[in-house]
């Protein structure tokens, strides 16, 4: 907002060719402008300022700095000679060259003025050290008060560039506004759509859908091992399909394994069953067996206990077997057991179930 107002103001100033105000304003807006100058590309809109004034660049500069320019031109020749003897410019050979040319020209043109303005130039050359020393470290915020030619010329050039940039930012701001409007609607455009086609509601919804799908794909990619390196949705999807298939086959294989293995377990359980059937068939089955077993059945719920049991030594195996027996015994043949045990186990199992759910 502020910069917009600033540009408008400078434009009006430029049309009025009121250089002094411009410089005053420039000194205020200087850092801002430099930042923009750094950020914005200066190359593409090089003709914008001159196009604005419809003048060739040097003339425009002179117009811009009309109050300053006689003084500047008058002041320049001795100083430039002085400075070029004693100081070197920090950078930019092009600048030096242009400087030299300009000083030559001004020297030719204003030889007569030289004498007249010499006190001022003396005054300037009395403290050239300060001015020029401050120049390299000059952070663009300090407009030179004295019309030291080198600094002044630099600043002229800077201003010139700046104004160009200002014009370009003015121009590019509208473009950028459009762009940002577009950008917040369309995060990315993979397929070039024709004008106005990319912003209608249908394609926006389509884009949102695609985004959601891509997020899901990313999640799946994390889920499936070895899928992160693959790029290309079709390949990733193929990998996911393979993974699902392999998992399903693994389940089949494991159930086959369990089916093949179980007869032995059955036999084992049967033997355990027959060995303990005497005690199991007692009327005090629940009181004897259930307290011992139930904690382990509880352990079913907490799988780590289960794993613990599984990986313990063989001493635990009979316990496990007994538990199995108990389960086997209770579940199909509740009616055969004593009433207490069946009721007990049923309620306990119900409790157990509830706890798990």
């Amino acid at each position: 907002m502020e910069s917009n107002a600033g540009t408008k103001e400078t434009r009006s100033n430029l049309t009025a060719s009121d250089g002094g105000e411009v410089t005053a304003f420039e000194s205020l807006q200087f850092t801002d402008e430099i930042h923009r100058l750094i950020l914005a590309p200066t190359t593409d809109n090089s003709s914008s300022f001159t196009a604005l004034l419809e003048l060739p660049p040097p003339q425009a500069v002179e117009l811009l700095h009309s109050p300053d320019s006689p003084k500047l031109i008058a002041a320049s020749p001795p100083n430039v000679e002085d400075f070029q003897g004693s100081f070197r410019f920090p950078s930019n050979s092009g600048l030096i060259e242009r400087d030299a040319r300009f000083s030559l020209f001004s020297g030719e043109a204003n030889n007569s003025n030289e004498k007249r303005n010499s006190p001022e130039s003396k005054n300037v050359s009395a403290n050239p050290e300060k001015n020029v020393k401050s120049e390299p470290a000059e952070t663009e915020s300090s407009q030179p008060l004295v019309s030291d030619p080198t600094v002044e010329k630099r600043s002229i050039k800077r201003k010139d560039r700046e104004n160009k940039v200002k014009g370009s930012t003015k121009k590019s701001k509208t473009v950028a506004n459009e762009n940002s409007e577009d950008a917040e609607k369309l995060p990315y455009v993979h397929v070039r759509a024709r004008r106005g086609q990319a912003t209608d509601s249908h394609s926006l919804a389509e884009r949102a859908r695609r985004e959601k799908i891509n997020a899901r794909m990313k999640l799946l990619q994390e889920l499936v091992p070895g899928c992160n390196k693959i790029s290309g949705t079709a390949l990733v999807l193929d990998e996911i399909i393979n993974h699902v298939q392999s998992l399903q086959r693994q389940v089949e294989f494991l159930s086959m394994r369990l089916a093949a293995v179980n007869p032995r377990i059955d036999f084992n359980l049967d033997s355990v069953f027959t060995s303990e059937s005497g005690s199991l068939m007692d009327s005090n089955f629940p009181s004897l067996v259930m307290p011992a077993i139930w904690p382990e059945v509880q352990g079913n719920g907490h799988r780590q206990q289960y794993q613990h049991q599984w990986h313990l030594d063989t001493l635990q195996q009979p316990v496990w077997g007994r538990e199995e027996v108990c389960n086997n015994y209770i579940t199909p043949e509740n009616s055969l057991l004593t009433y207490d045990s069946s009721a007990n186990s049923a309620t306990l199992q119900a409790n157990h179930l509830k706890m798990e759910l």
């Binding site: 999807l237 998992l247 399903q248 293995v261 007869p263 799988r303 199995e324 086997n328």
Partner: protein, 165 residues
């Protein structure tokens, strides 16, 4: 395995729920076959099918009807024609279709972007209940299904390792 003990596993987690259900149904299956003829191949195959169904069912029941795939799986298991639904044939059909579609994918995978029809169809056949899903839901269900399958495989592997060291 002791390192699993300190962070006490949540008893209401999917894994433990599945483990309990599956072990219960497994013990039921074991209890129903106490005869000596249980080592014959046909008997083993029957047991295999029962165990497979039990695994699917306990998985789907532990997920409950929160997910589309579990609902579809439960429905499928409930409405299967009197336990004669052979898992084997369905896998064979799946395989042949996979082979058939592999030829198609080689021609159509060049299309980049989100439009992948053939792979999605293939995935729809793999994920239960995925036939009527759009792509986003299909991917969502697939993610959950993969998680559940991984859990199922881990638990079953543990049990199988325990039974046959």
């Amino acid at each position: 395995m002791n390192k699993y003990n300190p962070p006490r596993m949540n008893p209401s987690s999917l894994r433990s729920r599945f483990a309990t259900r599956f072990l219960r149904s497994l013990s039921k299956i074991n209890a129903k076959k106490p005869t000596a003829s249980s080592s014959s191949p046909t008997e083993i195959f029957r047991r295999y099918r029962r165990i497979k169904v039990a695994a699917d069912k306990s998985m789907a029941y532990s997920v409950r009807s929160r997910r589309t795939w579990s609902r579809a799986m439960l429905w499928k298991l409930r409405t299967r024609p009197c336990c004669r639904r052979s898992v084997k044939t369905s896998t064979i059909v799946r395989k042949t279709r996979h082979e058939k579609q592999n030829k198609n994918t080689t021609t159509t995978t060049g299309e980049d972007g989100v439009v992948f029809g053939v792979e999605a169809d293939e995935l729809r056949e793999l994920v239960p209940g995925g036939e009527a899903m759009d792509l986003y839901n299909l991917l969502d269900e697939t993610a959950h299904y993969i998680k559940c399958l991984t859990t199922q495989v881990q638990v079953m592997k543990k049990i199988a390792d325990f039974y046959s060291p």
